[in-house]
Amino acid sequence: MKKRKRRKVRRMFLKVAMITLIAACFAVLFLMPIVLTVTNSFMASSEISSNYGQVFATTDTGGKTYISEKVNLKFIPDMVSFSQYITVLFKSPEYLFKFWNSVILVVPIVVFQLAVASGAAYGFTRFRGKLKEVIFFVYIILMLMPYQVTLVPNYLVSEWLNILDTKWAIWLPGIFSPFAVFMLTKYMRRIPASVMEAAQIDGAGEWQIFKSICMPLCKGALCSVAILIFIDYWNMVEQPLILLSDPEMHPLSVFLSKINEGEIGLAFAVATIYMVPPILVFLYGEDYLVEGITYQGGIKG
C-alpha cells in the first residue's frame, strides 16, 4: 500500500517536471526575440556589421539581397557598448523625432478615448432600453470590424473635414473607437443596480452618481482599458500608412522598418527604446492587463 502511494507520488512529480520543462521551453522561445533585440542593441556598430551586415545589404532596386556568408547570431555582445544609444540620443535626432511622433499620436487617443467612453458607458448602463441595446450591438459589430473595413469610412470623413495628412485624421477615429465603450460598459453593468438606486433615492444627481460612485468603482477597469488601447495604438501601422501621406509624420512603429544598411546597429537601439514604454507599462500593470483581457471575454453577456 505504502509502496503504491510512493509510486503515485513519483509519477505525479514526473508529470509536473515534464510540464514545467515544456513550459520552460515555450517561455524561452517566446522571450528569445525580445532578449536578442535588447542584447544586440548593446553591440558596437563594428560588431553588428561583422555579424550580419549582409542580412540587410540592399541592391540598387531597393530589394534585399543575400550574400552567401554566414550570419552570426550572438546572444551576448563581445563587449558591451553604449555607442548605438549615444548616437540615437545625441547625434541622429530623426529617430527621437519619430519617437515623439508616436507619443503625440498615441497619448491623446488613450486619454480622450477613455474620457468619451466612460461617459458613454455610463449612458449605456443607466436606464437601459431597447434602443440603447440596439445601439450597443452596433458598437460591438463596429468593434469587431477589421481595418480593411473601417479605414475606408475613416478616410472619407477625413477628406470631407479636410484633416487628411494631419494628426487629427489619426486622433479622431481613435478617440471615438467603440472599443473602450464596450469594455467599460461591460464593467459598469456589473455594479449592482441597488448601489446607484440608493444614491438616487438619497437625492444624488446623475453627475454625482457618475463621479462619486461609477468612476471610483471602475478605476481598475479604466487602467486595464488604458493599457489595451495604448499597446494597440503604440503598434499602429495601417492608419498612418493610409491617413498620413507625409513620412515625416509617421510614428516610429512604421519608420523602424525603413532602415538603411549602414544603420542596423542603430535600428536595434531604436527598436529597444521603442519597446521600453510598453514593457514598463506591462511590468507595472500586468495584473490590470490580465484583468482587462478577461473582461473582454464573455462578449455575449
Binding site: Y147, P153, A271
Partner: protein
C-alpha cells in the same frame, strides 16, 4: 451574465408625477447626454461614412453618380489581385486561427497545473503581446535569413536551406510570428475560463474515476465553449491584422503567397479608386458579419445547457 442588472435604473417606480418619478424621467434624458459625445463621434466617423461607402459601391463614380448596382462588385471580385489577396487571407486564417486556439488552450492547461513559476511563465507568454512588432522585426529577419539560425537548425536534421521570406515558405514565417504574438492573449482568456469551472463538478468526476480525457471532453470543453467562440473570433480578427507583420517584414510588395487583403486595400487607396475600395470594404464586412453570426449560432447550439 450582464442580464442580471438589466433593470439598472428602471427599478424605481414611484407614483405618477411624484418627485422620484420626475427625477427618473430627468435622469433618463441626462443619460442620453452622457452617451451623446461618443454617439456623435461614432455616427460621424463610422456609421454615416459607411452608408456613403455603400452608396459609392453602387454608383459608377462619385461625380457622375449613375447607379450601376453590382458592377463594382463584379469588377473587384474578378480582379486578379483581389482574388489572390482574398485567397491568401482566407488560407492564412484557416491555418492560423485553429492553431492559435488549440495551442493557447494547451498553454493555459499547462499553467492550470500546479507547476512552479506559474506567474513567471504567464509573464513570459504574455510579453510578446506588449512588444511592438516593429521592434522585433529586425531580429526576425536575422533568424529567418537564408544563412540564419533557423536554416542552420533545420540543417542539423539534413534539411536543405530555405529562402524563408521569398518563397511560399513565407506563410510559415508569418504564421509563427502571428502565433508568437497572439498566443498569450488567448491563453489568458482560457486560463480565466478554466478557473471558473465549478470545482465540485471536477471533484465528483474524479471520484467517479473519470479519465482525464473524459473530464476534458465532457466537462471542460462544455464550460469552455463560449470562450472558445470568443477566442476564435478574436483570433480571426487579429488574423486580418497580420498585414502589420508582413508589411514591416517585407514592405509593400511581398512574395505572392503573403499578399493580403490590406495590401490590396493599400494599393486601392494609392490609386484613390473609391469604387474599388467601397466594394471591397463592403464584401469584407459582409463576410465578417456572416462569420460572426455563424460562430454565435454554433455557440448557442453547443453551449446552451451550461450557462457560463
Amino acid at each position: 451574465m450582464g442580464f442580471r442588472n438589466r433593470k439598472a435604473g428602471n427599478g424605481i417606480k414611484g407614483n405618477k408625477g411624484s418627485k422620484l418619478n420626475r427625477q427618473v424621467r430627468k435622469g433618463k434624458k441626462i443619460s442620453w447626454g452622457y452617451l451623446f459625445p461618443s454617439l456623435a463621434g461614432v455616427l460621424l466617423f463610422f456609421v454615416l461614412p459607411f452608408l456613403v461607402v455603400i452608396y459609392y459601391s453602387l454608383v459608377d463614380n462619385p461625380i457622375n453618380r449613375e447607379f450601376v448596382f453590382l458592377d463594382n462588385f463584379v469588377r473587384v471580385a474578378t480582379n486578379k489581385a483581389f482574388q489572390q489577396a482574398a485567397f491568401n487571407t482566407l488560407k492564412f486564417s484557416v491555418v492560423a486561427v485553429p492553431l492559435a486556439v488549440i495551442l493557447s488552450l494547451l498553454l493555459a492547461m499547462m499553467l492550470d497545473y500546479k507547476i512552479p513559476f506559474r506567474s513567471q511563465f504567464r509573464t513570459a507568454f504574455l510579453s510578446p503581446m506588449m512588444v511592438p512588432v516593429a521592434s522585433i522585426i529586425l531580429i526576425w529577419q536575422v533568424l529567418f535569413h537564408y544563412n540564419g539560425i533557423v536554416n542552420d537548425f533545420i540543417g542539423l536534421f539534413g534539411a536543405d536551406k530555405i529562402d524563408w521570406l521569398k518563397s511560399s515558405h513565407a506563410q510559415v514565417v508569418i504564421v509563427i510570428l502571428f502565433l508568437w504574438k497572439n498566443l498569450g492573449y488567448n491563453m489568458i482568456l482560457f486560463m480565466a475560463a478554466l478557473g471558473s469551472i465549478p470545482k465540485d463538478i471536477l471533484e465528483v468526476a474524479i471520484l467517479e474515476s473519470a479519465t482525464p480525457f473524459q473530464i476534458f471532453w465532457h466537462i471542460k470543453i462544455r464550460y469552455l465553449s463560449s470562450t472558445i467562440l470568443f477566442v476564435t473570433i478574436m483570433s480571426l480578427i487579429n488574423s486580418f491584422k497580420v498585414f502589420r507583420e508582413i508589411y514591416l517584414l517585407t514592405g509593400n510588395y511581398p512574395y505572392d503567397t503573403i499578399y493580403m487583403m490590406q495590401h490590396f486595400m493599400n494599393n486601392a487607396f494609392a490609386q484613390l479608386d473609391y469604387q474599388k475600395l467601397s466594394a471591397a470594404a463592403i464584401m469584407m464586412s459582409i463576410v465578417m458579419v456572416i462569420i460572426i453570426g455563424i460562430l454565435f449560432l454554433t455557440e448557442n447550439y453547443f453551449g446552451r445547457d451550461v450557462e457560463g
